[in-house]
Amino acid sequence: MMAAAENRDYECERMPRVTLGKAQWSDEQKAEFMRRRRARNFLLLAALGGFCLIVYVIALVKLHEYGQMW
């Protein structure tokens, strides 16, 4: 029961599955984990934005040059 409760605490912070109940996290490590997760999220956002931009540019160029997408 106790172990399950401890794991729930970790899950609340959404730590990676591989470390559940195995590693002791210091405050610095938690801060570093949050920083890396934020960087990853911004990177994903940028990638999605880039993808939309590329599709937009392709559509603009093709419609301008050929009058159709395909």
Binding site: P16, T19, F33, R40, L43, I54, V57, V61, M69
Partner: protein, 312 residues
């Protein structure tokens, strides 16, 4: 072997808190150094192709080629994570280092593969996108899964994976596959063995440790030296074909001639290196290291000459 690496990974994971990957780790998963050469040869394919393509579309096509090559690299790292952990050169890669989970790397590679092919189809044409898809499959499945661990000829046949970019670049402009890009494909195909076997001559202990049947491990160093020399001769003859068939001009022809002679000189150095009775180098493989470095310069200059020849 695989179990040993998996145990090693899970032990490390238990001891070290998993802090998550840095953006640089995700970038490293795309093998940026390999991608740079792929981008270059793909761009040359675009430049030498007859016809006009909008510069924005050309830039997107090159980006898609890079993305596809990177995705194939990520899939390769996912599959090879067990043997990567055993080799000094590859043990610091994001998966064996415990920075990225294997499942995440697999998803990353698959998603990027699909996106690169779809974007290329949208930006250019189905022919270019199909060749890109084939090249990803060739590297991730034919080379990585079927050949690499099973035959000493792995990099001869697998060399095809790196040879596709000029064909993709050409197809992006023309919508079809011509004779010149096929010759460039063959040049990269036959360039790969002397390039890679020069490296494997002085990195064979790493491959041996991981159980990869590279030619020096299976057939010995002497046999590999002869193969480096033989493939360099074939490459020399092939590199002159575009000039002889009138598909490339004098600038390309003379450059191919000069570069080929120098490459043969380096390959001869590998063959005649001071060695013991098994063919193992007594000079710390200095000629093989020099041949490996020159092979990169060779391909770069040969393709650059092809583009210059077309532009002038």
């Amino acid at each position: 072997m695989a179990n040993y690496a998996e145990n090693l990974l899970s032990e490390n994971a238990a001891l070290v808190p998993h802090l998550g990957a840095e953006p640089a780790d995700w970038l490293a998963l795309l093998k940026p150094r390999v991608v740079s050469l792929v981008v270059f040869t793909g761009a040359i394919g675009l430049v030498i192709a007859p016809g006009h393509v909008n510069p924005l579309i050309a830039a997107i096509a090159i980006f898609c080629i890079a993305l596809g090559a990177g995705a194939a690299g990520a899939l390769n790292m996912w599959y090879d994570r067990d043997i990567d952990a055993l080799m000094r050169r590859t043990s610091t890669r994001p998966i064996p280092a415990g920075k990225i989970e294997p499942g995440a790397a697999l998803g990353y590679g698959l998603v990027l593969s699909v996106i690169s092919v779809l974007l290329l189809a949208m930006a250019t044409n189905l022919c270019a996108a199909a060749v890109l898809a084939v090249s990803i499959f060739y590297y991730a499945v034919i080379y990585t899964v079927w050949l690499k661990r099973h035959t000493p000829q792995n990099i001869v046949i697998g060399g095809g994976a790196g040879a596709f970019p000029p064909v993709i670049g050409w197809a992006a402009v023309t919508g079809q596959i011509g004779l010149l890009p096929m010759l460039l494909f063959l040049i990269v195909f036959f360039w790969t063995p002397p390039h890679f076997w020069s490296l494997s001559l002085y990195a064979s202990t790493d491959y041996e440790k991981a159980g990869i049947p590279m030619l020096p491990v299976v057939k010995g160093a002497r046999h590999t030296r002869w193969n480096v020399f033989g493939y360099t001769l074939i490459l020399f003859a092939l590199s002159l074909l575009p000039w002889m068939l009138g598909l490339a001009g004098r600038i390309y022809g003379l450059t191919a001639l000069a570069l080929g002679v120098v490459f043969i000189h380096y390959a001869w150095g590998v063959l005649r290196d001071a060695q013991d009775e098994r063919g193992v180098s007594l000079s710390q493989d200095k000629p093989a290291r020099a041949a490996f470095k020159f092979s990169i310069l060779y391909l770069f200059l040969l393709f650059a000459a092809c583009a210059v020849d077309r532009l002038i």
